[in-house]
Assembly symmetry: C2
Homo-oligomer: 235 residues x 2
């Protein structure tokens, strides 16, 4: 049974890394002391080692050890053996490129579909959708495909940001961008605000956290859903 | 001799479309009454016809007719015959995808290298750089490559935006993103603020408009250059 947390962000403004999620993660990863970390998204271009060290700190608070996938000789076996997987944020293009390069997309997909608990934040959440076409990141590398895990039958837009009515900047708002996405693609997009997450348990998908999410469906006006809403029928 | 305007934006806040540039464009396109428009970037997903109609309006003020490339049976011949080319803004991924699909990258490159005056705004400016890896746009379609015209030996970041010190949002700033780009790529990036543009005349590249630009070079702190600065040696 799928058991997935798809979080908008790792860090809520004014708090430590993962602080707002730690109680939830204690339960999510209750069956393991050790979490396999996938550091490929490399925020600010830091190395896999640096990123793994950084992520280990909040996890010590709930007595979990974090091991980077790059520390294993056989990453596929590491995924098959893992009892918990965390894919952290950074740049989605860099992340997806490395997942393809190391040929572990199918391994992760089947492990998670078979029940290995998964946590994604930001870029690690983006890839839980059907494609990475709704990432906010800069395309600093060219991945072989935009297709991602598809743990949910729609796309994710993490760090969802409402339009700023005071802005004089002529760049597009997030909502404009997602509406443009729908000129070329048909799947729904869930905009998750910072501090909220989706919880996937088998076939159920529930919005958690304090904030509403914004849903974009093809040819419909976007709408808000409150925390606790069941999104299992969205596709 | 190359004769190119690489503008950050078509529209400055509070003004009409292209208004701040019209006097410059009157001179830039002085040898032709008719401009070939490439509407492929489709802002907000509007059609090629809609976009061409929209762009025609400001050009009537300087007595120029705008014809969309989609109106020609043979787009390659249209480019060879053009005495002025304008590539408008919208989504860079959609634009680059369509340029490749219609196989006109080489035609435009050789026409512009041979002296056909070119105007780019936003996405149409992004593609004047070596690659589109520093676009701000959402990757709503997957183009066959990120390589672009390379009219200048660096990358462009249009709509360059300074960090907002009051923001509580955990997404990356533009500067952070461009620094990440430099973990994977070596060419400089020129961040052009709205209302400024680069003017390429043969081998000279000059910053024009009222605002400074921000230059990012590998392994150097970013720095500002003022209007009038010669950027011919940047590569």
């Amino acid at each position: 049974m799928k058991d997935i947390i798809i979080a908008s962000t790792s860090t809520v403004h004014g708090q430590g890394s993962l602080e707002y999620l730690l109680d939830t993660l204690k339960i999510h990863f209750k069956n393991t002391d050790s979490i396999l970390f996938i550091p490929y998204a490399r925020p600010s271009g830091i190395t896999h080692d640096q990123y793994t060290d950084k992520v280990s700190i909040p996890f010590t608070k709930i007595n979990k050890t974090v091991i980077g996938i790059h520390e294993f000789d056989d990453p596929k076996q590491a995924i098959r053996d893992a009892k918990g997987i965390f894919v952290g944020g950074g740049n989605t293009f860099v992340l997806v490129n490395q997942l393809y390069k190391n040929d572990i997309i199918l391994e992760i997909t089947s492990a998670v579909n078979d029940g290995t608990p998964y946590l994604g934040t930001s870029a690690g959440s983006n890839i839980c959708g059907l494609t990475m076409n709704t990432t906010n990141d800069m395309p600093i590398v060219y991945p072989p495909s935009f297709k991602t895990f598809g743990f949910v039958p729609f796309n994710i837009n993490p760090h969802y940001l409402d339009p700023d009515p005071t802005s004089t900047h002529m760049g597009e708002t997030r909502e404009t961008r997602i509406n443009e996405f729908h000129k070329f693609n048909s799947q729904p997009v869930v905009g998750i605000r910072e501090g909220s997450w989706l919880n996937v348990k088998g076939k159920s998908i529930t919005l958690k956290g304090e904030l509403d999410a914004r849903i974009f469906e093809l040819s419909k006006p976007p709408y808000e859903v409150t925390s606790g809403t069941d999104l299992s029928d969205l596709k």
